[in-house]
């Protein structure tokens, strides 16, 4: 449907919902590259003005990506829960933003968190486009999503971390060294998750057994994951490997998921296989998904109704609809990984990280963020500090940490273990409760509950370092 609005004496026209969503999006390089960004600041505000007056229910009738040609759209609409939607069904997008902020100010977590099954990705994406940084932080903080397997993720006052011990050749001693360094810094409560250097079933099984042995040896209340393709994880399952979590990268269109070699049926099969192992102690969430703005565009799979380019933030929110269908333990956006042609600088990366966290949480996901950057983006450690502290304030479920912020396998920079300690200290956040109790048992916490700096000859250090002995 064609829509018009006047700003500053000019009238701007948006032929379809696809353009309206794209032009209303805060500036980012990926939308410029796709040719769907607002062509002026005034046009952006005109689109936001129209979006604010759009009834939320419009998104149930008018699609951004077509129902007949896209299984993500079908999943969203076919599973939409009208009862959960009822409290906000009569609101416009702008009124919905106001309502969320009112519930937030009143501390009404229950009202916000109960909406998830009634919300679609396009609804939350549209709402985020009207929000400023503080809005995204405030509402994110009041949206509660709690999941569990052997640790509990998403409780108030907690910030978990994925310990990412990647190694260029998957060398077992090298991987073990990075795991121990992370554990000594209190990281790893979300997952100990390795990106393998090659996607081979044998390698995946070997890494799964390695991490499982460390977890078993020290009785660590956490889970392992080798972030291989879902088909590789299925092979590992057939071989009887100790699989805690099914991992997969997912995106917001059927075509982009096809590019990842993934179908919804394949994900369901793998999830069922891991569930049958019954490896959880505090919950049974057994999937883990990664996403990131720009992934659909980079696969040339970003077109919506009428072949029009869809903005990358709306497509990102659609990826969350795929993830939530499989009741994940963890989901994170990899916010600065894909490069400056999608998110150019620190301002764009910070904004995208907060949008992704907000949209994921509102849709009911245990949302985390890989706060990261590449060397050709205009981003540095100051920007990652800013985003990390804002995410901590926003109640982010978990962040990712690697030794010294330097991933020597994927060649990008994420957070360091120290960055996680700093965020917890500054914001008064603690690790997942089961993991915190383990840290205490291992004598790794001081009297104030902080992760202690150990002398090399401290008993706790010696116990853990013993694992580095093959």
């Amino acid at each position: 449907m064609r829509r018009r609005a006047a700003v500053g004496g000019h009238t701007y026209e948006f032929p379809t919902l696809v353009e309206l969503m794209a032009r209303a999006t805060p500036l980012r390089s990926g939308d410029v590259l796709a040719g769907c960004a607002a062509r002026s600041a005034a046009e952006r505000v005109a689109a936001q003005t129209l979006l604010a007056d759009l009834p939320l229910a419009t998104f149930l009738d008018e699609q951004v990506v077509g129902y007949d040609e896209d299984d993500v759209t079908r999943l969203v609409l076919d599973t939409h829960d009208a009862d959960a939607f009822a409290p906000v069904a009569s609101l416009t997008v702008g009124e919905f933003r106001d309502r969320l902020l009112a519930w937030t100010a009143a501390g009404d977590e229950a009202a916000i968190s109960a909406l998830a099954p009634g919300l679609t990705p396009e609804m939350v994406a549209a709402t985020s486009k009207l929000m400023r940084t503080a809005d995204l932080v405030a509402v994110g903080r009041r949206t509660r999503v709690v999941t569990g397997l052997r640790s509990t993720i998403g409780l108030p006052g907690r910030l978990a971390s994925r310990l990412q011990p990647n190694h260029p050749t998957d060398d077992p001693v090298g991987v073990t060294a990075s795991i121990l360094d992370g554990l000594l810094h209190g990281s790893g409560d979300a997952v100990i998750g390795i990106n393998p250097a090659t996607d081979s079933p044998a390698r995946t099984v070997a890494l799964l057994e390695l991490v499982d042995a460390v977890i078993s040896r020290y009785e660590i209340p956490t889970q392992s994951c080798v972030l291989a393709h879902v088909t590789t994880t299925l092979r590992a399952l057939e071989q009887g490997a100790p699989v805690d979590l099914v991992f997969q990268s997912v995106a917001g269109t059927q075509e982009a998921n096809r590019g990842f070699g993934v179908t919804l049926d394949l994900l369901a099969e793998a999830r069922a296989g891991v569930l049958a192992l019954g490896r959880g102690t505090v919950g049974d969430n057994v999937t883990y998904f990664e996403t990131g703005q720009g992934s659909a565009l980079s696969a040339g799979a970003h077109l919506g109704v009428g072949g029009r380019p869809v903005d990358q933030q709306t497509l990102e929110a659609r990826a969350y609809a795929v993830a939530r269908h499989f009741e994940p333990l963890l989901v994170n956006t990899v916010v600065g990984f894909i490069g400056p042609e999608y998110l150019y600088d620190g301002k764009q990366v910070v904004r995208a990280g907060l949008e992704d966290h907000f949209c994921g949480k509102l849709l009911g996901l245990p949302m985390g963020v890989d706060v990261c950057y590449t060397n050709h983006a205009e981003v540095d450690g100051d920007d990652t500090d800013t985003l990390t502290l804002l995410l901590g304030a926003a109640g982010c479920s978990f962040v990712i940490a690697v030794p010294g912020a330097d991933d020597v396998m994927l060649h990008y920079q994420s957070l360091s273990f120290s960055d996680v300690l700093t965020a917890r200290q500054v914001l008064g956040l603690r690790p997942a409760p089961e993991f915190e109790a383990w840290l205490a048992r291992m004598d790794l916490l001081d009297d104030a509950g902080r992760v202690r700096e150990l002398a090399p000859d401290a008993p706790a250090a010696r116990v853990l370092l013993a694992a580095a002995t093959p």
Partner: protein, 241 residues
């Protein structure tokens, strides 16, 4: 591996190139570790942003050299618009070369890599390409790999080899990549190319190793009349590009 010794953290450090056991200043990193990291990041940043010195590069090369620019007018545009880096600047014309093969030296994401390793790798390649007639050498700025397709088509060659600065990592700011495309023309996709990555002596591939592989690939591509995944099965194992 043993824990007996002065510094048990050395056990961790010796096990991996990852930045483990850095120590702490409260919850943060100690100053000297922070500065080590900044120095590595600065080297990578400078490698991306220091422009290719075309005159200096030409002086280090022999034979006829043509210079081209992509449609990306500056570095900031280049980084945000990879599509422009794949097209020749408007109005730019190249002469038909009447040759088999064109070699393009492209700045890519690390002009420094081209300065440090371009002339050396090119010399090693020329020693091995006796059976090929070569078009004039092309130096390209603000260039992506696929700019070689436009260059190759304009020159009318059967194959193009692009030597290009790779995205700098924290510990490797000067890595050169080589991309081979048979029958180059705009619209070729990455699966139709072969890549030799990490040319960076003494830490990465030597010039001789890289030139041997590229020459073997070129010979195989000429026999097959194609490059890319079709060729990959019969050639040496290559990293993806």
């Amino acid at each position: 591996m043993s824990l007996v010794g002065e510094d048990p953290w050395a056990v961790l450090r010796s096990a991996t190139r990852a930045r483990v056991a850095l120590g702490r200043a409260g919850d943060a990193l100690p100053t000297h570790r922070e500065l080590e990291f900044r120095a590595a990041h600065a080297a990578a940043r400078d490698a991306v942003h220091s422009p290719l010195d075309v005159d200096a590069l030409r002086a280090a090369l022999t034979g006829e050299v043509l210079t081209v620019a992509s449609a990306a007018p500056d570095r900031a545009t280049y980084l945000q618009r990879p599509d422009l880096g794949r097209q020749l600047a408007e109005g730019l014309a190249l002469p038909r070369a009447g040759a088999d093969l064109a070699v393009v030296l492209a700045d890519g994401l690390s002009p420094r890599a081209v300065h440090e390793h371009g002339p050396g790798l090119l010399a090693a390649l020329r020693e091995r390409l006796g059976g090929w007639s070569l078009a004039p050498l092309v130096v390209a700025t603000q260039a992506r790999v696929a700019l070689g397709d436009a260059v190759g088509e304009a020159l009318g060659v059967r194959a193009v080899v692009v030597l290009i600065g790779e995205r700098p990592g924290l510990s490797s700011a000067d890595s050169l990549g080589v991309y081979l495309t048979w029958d180059p023309r705009p619209g070729r996709v990455d699966s139709e190319r072969n890549c030799v990555s990490n040319v960076r002596p003494p830490h990465g591939l030597s010039y001789a190793q890289a030139a041997d592989t590229v020459t073997a690939l070129l010979t195989a591509a000429r026999e097959l009349g194609a490059s890319g995944v079709a060729l990959k099965d019969e050639g040496p194992a290559l990293p993806s590009g």
